[in-house]
Every structure is written in C-alpha cells, then in structure tokens.
Symmetry: C2
Subunit: 246 residues, 2 copies
Amino acid sequence: MPQLNIDTVSPHSRPGLARGVSHAECGACIFKPRCLPAELDGESLDHFQRSVLRQARPLKAGQVLAHQGDNMDALYFLRVGSLKGVINEANGDEHVVGFRFPGSVIGLAEPEEQRWARTFVALEDTWLCRIPLASIDDALRRQLVKLMSERLRQEYAYHLTLAFKSGARKLAAFFMEISDGFRARGLSAQRFHLPMSYIEVASYLGMRHESVSRTLTQLQDSGLLVKQGKFIQIPDLDQFRQLTQE
Amino acid sequence: MPQLNIDTVSPHSRPGLARGVSHAECGACIFKPRCLPAELDGESLDHFQRSVLRQARPLKAGQVLAHQGDNMDALYFLRVGSLKGVINEANGDEHVVGFRFPGSVIGLAEPEEQRWARTFVALEDTWLCRIPLASIDDALRRQLVKLMSERLRQEYAYHLTLAFKSGARKLAAFFMEISDGFRARGLSAQRFHLPMSYIEVASYLGMRHESVSRTLTQLQDSGLLVKQGKFIQIPDLDQFRQLTQE
DNA sequence: CGCTCCCTTGACGACTTTCAATGATCGTGG
DNA sequence: CCACGATCATTGAAAGTCGTCAAGGGAGCG
C-alpha cells in the first residue's frame, strides 16, 4: 500500500503543469470564495498558507491517494489534476462513485479519526495539499461545514442524474455537472477536458461503455456536442441542458 | 458519553404513536451515539435540551416541512415518523432523492443562511425538533461535521445502489440500506415498516412503479422476501444481501 | 357510499446490455 | 525513433430487460 512520504515534500514545491492545463487555470481556484481558505483572515490565512498550501504533493496518473479502509489523518485540497473515487465491492467489482477537479477538498465523507470509505486514484498528473486533521480548528471547521453542505447538495444532484432512465439524459446531466463545475471555477463551461475513460464514465453512470460511446456518437451526429479527442465541446449550452429535462 | 434523559423532554410534546409503530421503536433512537446530542456535555447538553429538544413539532402525513427554495433558518431533528426529500424539476417532474427516518438530522445539505434545496414531506405522522441555526455553537458544529460525513458516506452508498442496472439489485440494495439503518437505530433489521408508496420507491431508484411491483412479486415468489401490507420481512439477511452483489 | 390513490397484471415495443471483432491511442522499452 | 503491447474506443447483431399503455381490483378517507 503506497503510503506517501511527507518528508519528501518540498516546502517550495510548486505544482508543475498538467498537460493541457495552464497555470492560470490551476492557480485561480484557491482564491475563489468557494475554496477552503476563503473565509480565513489575516493571521489564520497566513498560517494556513504556510502550513498547508505550500505542501503540495505530486501524484502521477494511476497512483493512489488513499486506499479504501486505510486510516485517515488528513484531508486533501486538490490544486491541479483530477481524481476518481472508487468503491471496491466484496465480489471484486469496482464502481466509480465520483470525480474530483481542482478546488475540491478530498475526504469530507470520512468521519474524523476514521478510515477512508473509498479509494481515490489520480486520473492524470495531480497536485494536492495535505490538511492534517490535527490542524483543523474552529475557523476551518466552520468552513468545512459549508464545503460539506455543498458536496451534499451535489450528491443530491447526482442522484437525479442517476435516476434518469435514458442514457442520453444521464450523459447530458453528467456533462452539465462538469460544465457547471468548471464555470464555478472560472474555467470554460463550453469546452473542457475529460480526464476519465468511457469505462469510468459508464461505471459512474450505471451504463456500459459501449452505450456511452454510442450515445455520444448520436449526440455528435445531432450537432449538440463535439468530441475532439479527450475534449468535449458544447456549442449551445441552453439547448444541451434541455436534454436533461427530456 | 452523556446520555439524554427522556424525562427532561417536555411531557406535553411527547410524541404520539404513528400507525404501526410502537413507542419502543420510536423512542429508542435518540439514545444512540449517532444522534445529535451525543457529544455534548454538561452545560451545553443542558442548554441543548432546554432550547431544542423541548420544541417538538408535529406534522401530519403529506404535510410539508420545508419547501424547495424557502429560506432556511433551522435544522430539524427527526424523532418519530419519516420524510421524503423531493426535487422539483423545471418541467414539473418530481423526483424523490431521499428518505429520512428517526434519528436523522434534516437540512444538512443546505449551506447556512441559505435556502432549502429540496422539499421535505412527511410520509406519516411525524415529530421533529427544531434546531435554529443561530443556536449552533462550536460544540454543535463539531457534531455536525460528523453527521454530515456520515450522510455523505451514505450518499456514496446510494450512488452504488442507483448505478446497479438490474431492478432486482437496486431494490435489494434499497432494502439493505433501510435494514442497516434500522439496525443501527436498534430496531429490527429483518422486519420493518415501509412508509412510502411504490411510486416513491420507484422515483427514488429510477424505475417505474410497475417494475417495483413485479420485481417484489418475483422476490416473494423466490422466498427471499415476504410482503405483509406495508411491512417487509426478510427471512435470510445474508442471502438477501448477496442479491446486491449479483 | 363515492371517490381517489395505490397496487397488480398483461402485452407490446423500445432501449440497453451482451457478446464479438476491429481499430485507435498511448506509454514503454528496445 | 520505431515497434510493441495494453488499454480504450467503436461498431454490428442478437437477446433480454424494462418502460409504456391499458385495465381491473383494493384500501383508505371524507
């Protein structure tokens, strides 16, 4: 089990650039109101920056941030890259239950002092900041409650997505989730990078990857969506969103 | 761990009995460690009991606790009864995104000072305690973080349920969710009351109510499950749980 | 007693999964 | 730099499941 070595973390390690992601994109998020240090002020913000944000640790594509069942002693703040959260079932099946993009805090679903309920795997080269549980004071906790509320709200939206019967609606809702997320982070909502495979998308949505491929081809043929390698472009967002409402 | 004394709860706000639910069943939950006041001590526990637990409010079946979009100024602690959470879509469709049973805190997904993202409707006669947001101090907030983590963890499990393709697996997972929840509250995991209609179950699971009915009939014919009106009995829990892993 | 809402069952059709095979892409190592 | 292997994406055809539409029966409530 690859336990990451904190000692190797350089205090001045600056995140490099993941392919296709500019530094402006990755750096912007941590100053957004929705991100963790937003409500910290003066001294505590300074302390937070020194103790947490400087300690970015890199993860290569496919590497594991934390294994399901591992002891948990820190949250992680995702600065660059992306992760998938997977649950391993007793019969060996693996299910993707979430994707994380820059600006996310990883580990909110794990009660303090407990274990990771899921495995988090990097989908591409990824940089994270470690937030030791011991460093969480009341100011940070106040912020955490907000973040968790937001995440819970998201999960309810995902529930809606999954409850859709048609594959086209599921996929449309999935893309709108991602698009909205990128917009909230100040990135483009019309054209974005998909770091995950169709197999992972299919697992996330309760479909088969063949169905994902077929449905996307249909959407492309109807002109509502353009596939360009790992990038997705949506010419008309309003029109596309109507797909989620049948 | 400080325990709540039921005698300190106002006698005149004593919960009545929902149909088919004994008082032993409904009252047990608030003594469980997982419930809100578990980690409060001394003065704050006393304050909590006086300011919150005494203010139980009744709700009749079908009545609405809070409307989607309404301003939110309190959380609610569910003591007796059950609720469904629904999201109304722009096109008029209504989706059930959750059920709540005694011991739950309602409103965790709403950022403070914000609005209700969902509508909560009583499925039967229900009693709730109001927890004004203004009364949430750091001690309570610490407790909230735990509850929200737990809820997030649950939502990931629901994701798994919804991602199952077969209706039988979805329903089996749904019943195991409920069964596990009742066991955690000290109630029977083998035989329990279903306060919601098949239509609501179907909406929650992304199925049609006809499919729910058919699948349940099949499960009953195979002897894995017994329907008795609004009650569900599962003779062999281990065997039944295997259904969720195909 | 009437009504309304819920549950059940049947037959048909549409959609997704399944199985299979081929092609594309990427990372690795020679 | 190229070749190789592995993973991923695409497409076809067949089979199965679930949704849809329709109708009848039952339970609860005013």
